[in-house]
């Protein structure tokens, strides 16, 4: 049993980004960790770090988290240079310590983008994404009794594609992974989802024009089609949604009825 327990534990060196506030200069704090269970999630490992810090009478490391089951989009972190860590299609909260080696040094940084200012330590302000959504990422419907579901036929392939785009949890990992800090995959997923569905049709043109305008104004970069976003996305959202947004944008600009 004891031999088994030993292999299930890791000793780690952490380089954790510490930053007092949005305008403070940050730096890495080196922490040594002993006997970290491989069954812990990455965030549980950080909980251990914080327990140690609190018992030392120091400020715990601030990091974003909520559901811890990979669906809320609150957790973030760049772990050893990879958004949400080394496992594909996995959020940081669903990443387990068994994917790390004993004695490994792990560098933990916040998502970095001018549009995502650091609030404190590893916490970042992602409300720029909310402002993109409020500028058009919705459908306007009058409330009332629901109509018959069969009154709005949707082809299965379109419904599936729209669902793939709707899988976005809004974590902003695409922005963090993009060499240009662009928000094209995030914005593209919402534009694409609603463009694929009849419910999105009435506001199809104004939506894409407005969302792209907001995206640009928030200071995100331009897409250079490196596809790091898709590779880092915990929901594996495809860059074909960016291409659909590009089509929607040019269509609305060149032949749309909006002025």
């Amino acid at each position: 049993m004891s031999a088994h327990a030993e292999t299930d534990c890791l000793n780690l060196t952490l380089n954790i980004w510490r930053q007092e506030g949005p305008h403070a200069t940050g730096s890495f704090e080196v922490r040594q960790l002993q006997d970290i269970s491989t069954h812990m999630s990455f965030l549980e490992m950080l909980d251990c770090v914080n327990e140690d810090l609190v018992s030392e009478g120091r400020e715990p490391v601030s990091f974003d988290h909520d559901c811890r089951e990979g669906i809320c989009g609150m957790c973030s972190l760049v772990i050893n240079g990879q958004v949400h860590g080394p496992q594909p299609e996995t959020t940081t909260c669903q990443l387990h310590m068994r994917h790390f080696k004993d004695g490994e040094t792990i560098t933990i940084e916040p998502f970095r983008a001018e549009a995502f200012p650091v609030v404190r330590d590893l916490c970042i302000d992602r409300t720029a994404l909310d402002r993109i959504i409020t500028s058009g990422g919705y459908i306007s419907v009058n409330t009332g009794s629901p109509q018959d579901a069969n009154a709005t036929p949707i082809a299965k392939p379109d419904s599936d594609l729209a669902m793939d785009a709707a899988a976005c949890i809004g974590c902003g990992g695409c922005v963090a992974a993009c060499p240009n800090a662009a928000a094209m995959l995030f914005t593209g997923a919402k534009v694409s989802q609603l463009a694929l569905l009849p419910q999105g049709a009435p506001e199809r043109e104004s939506r894409v024009l407005s969302m792209v305008e907001t995206m640009d104004a928030e200071g995100f970069g331009n897409c250079t089609n490196e596809y790091e976003c898709m590779a880092a996305c915990p929901k594996a959202i495809d860059v074909s949604h960016i291409a659909r947004m590009n089509r929607e944008y040019m269509r609305a600009s060149l032949v749309g009825s909006s002025p």
Partner: protein, 223 residues
């Protein structure tokens, strides 16, 4: 009335669409340019190449075509500089550790660097063969003279490797920017992009290599 045009052309997607369009047209130019250059290998003394150059230069519409090329290059380069500046500004604090998640390629990562190399090359190339050429010397002789010097051959070789790398990402990137992404043809576009990079890169690279190492006359190499 032109508000929509300014808005579209200055948006992130509009800028990239313009870069994609000008880039695709420039790839078209490169294909024609390579085809013309390959006449260099048609005979031993470069007469076919000289006659091709003469035909091209005696065309009264050449200045118009050159103006068109200038517009394409300037648009593409100015937008590239603007886009790159904005992209740098979008992330001022760098990551201490950076690892690819598997999306990018050597071509995609080096677009700015290869672009700058190509810009320097473009200036040198125009000075070498367009401005320096007073019509008295045969074009084939001028090419041989330029590319048999180590500096000339070296610069051209490096620039053509950069060209191949640039184009290998450029074509598929332009298609994606223009919205052409579909399971039916995206795999083909990716192969064509790589193929264009290899063919254009190696095609143009052959000139400095053949002339420098085989001594100047045609592929037959009777130096």
């Amino acid at each position: 009335m032109l508000g929509w045009l300014i808005r579209t052309a200055s948006s992130s997607i509009g800028k990239k669409a313009l870069m994609a369009l000008t880039g695709l047209l420039l790839i078209g130019f490169l294909v024609v340019h390579l085809a013309g250059n390959l006449t260099f290998y048609m005979d031993g003394d470069g007469a076919a190449f000289d006659s091709y150059a003469e035909t091209l230069e005696s065309n009264p519409l050449l200045p118009l075509a050159e103006f068109g090329l200038l517009v394409l290059f300037v648009t593409h380069i100015v937008l590239a500089l603007r886009v790159t500046k904005q992209n740098r500004d979008a992330r001022k604090s760098r990551y201490a550790v950076r690892a690819t998640a598997g999306g990018s390629t050597a071509g995609s990562r080096s677009m700015v660097i290869t672009g700058i190399v190509l810009l320097v090359f473009l200036v040198v190339h125009i000075m070498d063969f367009r401005l320096q050429n007073d019509g008295t010397e045969s074009m084939a002789a001028l090419v041989r003279e330029e590319l048999s010097a180590p500096l000339g051959a070296g610069l051209y070789a490096v620039a053509m490797l950069a060209l191949g790398l640039h184009v290998s990402h450029a074509f598929k990137s332009a298609m994606q920017t223009l919205g052409c992404n579909h399971p039916k043809y995206t795999p083909l576009i990716e192969k064509v992009s790589l193929g264009l990079g290899i063919v254009l890169g190696l095609g143009f690279l052959s000139f400095p290599l053949v002339i420098f190492f085989l001594g100047g006359s045609a592929a037959g190499g009777q130096a």
